[in-house]
């Protein structure tokens, strides 16, 4: 008795739907499992050698790296800039805070439907607006040269509200005296921001950086509905590549090997974060 009735409900769920499947996906990655074969055969490291030999895998890794780093950079930089604006004592403060966070509460499915319409190449509203000022509108999601950039922009529109709010609460936690002291010492606005406020935000910046990075490695729902990984594989994120192999091609074994690769990648990032946060500087 004792603590068992309190911890067991959660632990049973973790055991059945997190730890057991983690072991199982590793096992499946060593088999020829597909949708129809309930008892797969062990094939050793065959899926892994097939994975490393597959150019599509390497392209997917490249696309994922570009996507994750771009979205993370945009979310950190724009998030911080937005937080400064949200913190300014304007009359539109409430509207601004509400507006920036609104896309966060709108689902991925709705986001994809709306942006598919806005970015439609022939006469979508975005290209209409560009046409009105005499600019040629690209095929946004249908052109291999612009598709990834378009998905990155949509993902940033949808995702930047959370970093902005995290930076805002970071800003509000900074004691005002520190900034006021700098002003009394004759610092300009830009100097206060660059030498005092932004360095003081360092712990928040690191949390936001890793939340964004880990999140973007997994966010392929947008790609699933916006581009289906195309055109010509230009938006084929690792997560979507796993989904496609498992549920379109029914190659469960190969898709499991990809899942293990994704797991190791994210585990590496997680351990890096732990290592860095041990060393992180506390200013207060």
């Amino acid at each position: 008795m004792g603590a068992a009735p309190y911890i067991l409900p959660a632990l049973v769920v973790f055991a059945v739907f997190t730890y057991y499947p983690l072991g199982r996906v590793m096992y499946l990655s060593l088999t020829d499992a597909d949708m129809l074969q309930p008892r797969p055969n062990l094939v050793g490291l065959q899926n892994y050698s097939a994975m490393f030999a597959n150019p599509e895998f390497w392209r997917s890794m490249t696309v994922t790296a570009i996507f994750a780093l771009s979205v993370t950079f945009l979310e950190v930089a724009l998030g911080m800039a937005l937080a400064f604006l949200m913190n300014a004592p304007t009359r539109l403060q409430r509207l601004l805070r509400g507006a920036v966070f609104t896309p966060v509460v709108v689902s991925i499915a709705a986001t994809a439907v709306v942006w598919n319409y806005l970015l439609s190449p022939a006469s979508g509203p975005v290209n209409q607006a560009l046409g009105a000022v005499g600019l040629p509108g690209p095929g946004w999601l249908s052109d291999p040269n612009t598709a990834l950039a378009s998905v990155i922009l949509v993902a940033t529109w949808k995702g930047v509200g959370l970093p902005a709010v995290l930076f805002l609460s970071g800003l509000q936690a900074i004691p005002r005296e520190l900034e006021e002291a700098a002003v009394i010492d004759g610092a300009t606005r830009a100097q206060v921001a660059g030498r005092v406020t932004i360095p003081l935000l360092a712990p928040t910046t690191m949390v936001v950086f890793f939340i964004s990075l880990v999140g973007t490695f997994q966010s392929y729902g947008l790609v699933l509905l916006l581009t289906g990984g195309g055109p010509a594989g230009s938006t084929n994120l690792l997560g979507y590549y796993i989904y496609q192999n498992a549920f379109s091609f029914f190659q469960m074994g190969f898709a499991s090997a990809l899942s293990v690769a994704l797991f190791l990648l994210l585990l590496g990032l997680g351990l890096l974060q732990l290592k860095l946060s041990e060393r992180r500087v506390h200013y207060q």
Binding site: I7, L11, L82, A99, V113, S123
Partner: protein, 272 residues
């Protein structure tokens, strides 16, 4: 004081432009839902005539009432379960001593390092073996516990003064009574933050509901919307009307409790 006024005006203007940039796609969505099929691509911002029938057509073309019911049921059940399992486990980790406590807590936090997408395939095979494909269980049970929830509530419980517990014991309250009658109400902000975040994640979930269901009777609004826009893709105003139907409940709740949503989100970043 002139330059300061200039800065102030610039901030007001910038705030307005940024707000519009974030809201414009949604404003466009709502306006397109009221337009005619041709006007969507050639007309101006506002509809010439407001076509309310788009909503009727969308509502009739797919079982949105069923989708909304499914999503509500699944999100409410998931949120209630997460609050319960998190409160129980957080209480044990914060207030009880038992063998293996540290190891079990590490095992709980360890789940945060294992992303859901890595578990997609094995969990799909599991629910297939359970015979749960196309069922409410498949959409609820795997999400009934949350390591983040346990962590969040444990932090709150640790901060609650021990005197509360001693006073409750003197008054003859059992451990469970203390947890549900005192500890949870006292920590209402943390509990509601967890509730908001869990409900939102559950309502907006896409990939798992997509693989776990293929029948309308168990589909959520998100899966229903995705497949609807595939089928009706050419009829943009009706697709936009459907999107408005799906997004509106969340947007209304958000408009009413904006501060609450934003504070919940801010709380989620404190876990680092």
């Amino acid at each position: 004081m002139k330059p300061r006024q200039g800065v102030r005006l610039g901030q007001e203007l910038l705030s307005l432009l940024v707000s519009l940039a974030f809201l414009m796609p949604l404003i466009w969505m709502v306006l397109a839902a009221f337009k005619g099929q041709k006007e969507v691509f050639v007309g101006g911002l506002l509809p010439d005539t407001w076509v309310w029938e788009n909503f009727v057509e969308a509502w009739k073309a797919a079982p949105f009432a069923q989708y909304l019911l499914n999503s509500t049921l699944i999100s409410v059940a998931t949120t209630a379960s997460v609050l319960l399992t998190s409160a129980l486990a957080a209480f044990a980790f914060a207030r009880m001593t038992f063998p293996g406590k540290h190891a079990l807590f590490i095992l709980t936090l360890g789940t945060l390092m294992i992303p859901g997408d890595v578990l997609l395939i094995p969990n799909f095979i599991t629910i297939k073996q359970f015979g749960w494909v196309n069922s409410y269980q498949a959409l609820i049970v795997p999400f009934t516990a949350s390591a983040f929830g346990i962590f969040l509530l444990r932090q709150a419980f640790l901060r609650t003064p021990v005197e509360f517990e001693e006073a409750a014991k003197i008054d003859g309250a059992s451990t469970a009574q203390f947890l549900f009658r005192i500890l949870l109400p006292v920590n209402a902000p943390a509990v509601s933050a967890l509730g908001v975040l869990t409900f939102l994640a559950s309502w907006n979930a896409l990939v798992w509901p997509l693989v776990a269901t293929n029948r309308d009777s168990y589909r959520t609004v998100q899966v229903g919307l995705a497949s609807f826009s595939n089928l009706e893709g050419s009829n943009i105003p009706v697709v936009m009307a459907a999107t408005v139907i799906v997004v509106l409940p969340v947007l209304i709740i958000y408009a009413l409790a904006q501060k609450w949503f934003i504070e919940s989100a801010a709380a989620s970043g404190v876990k680092g």
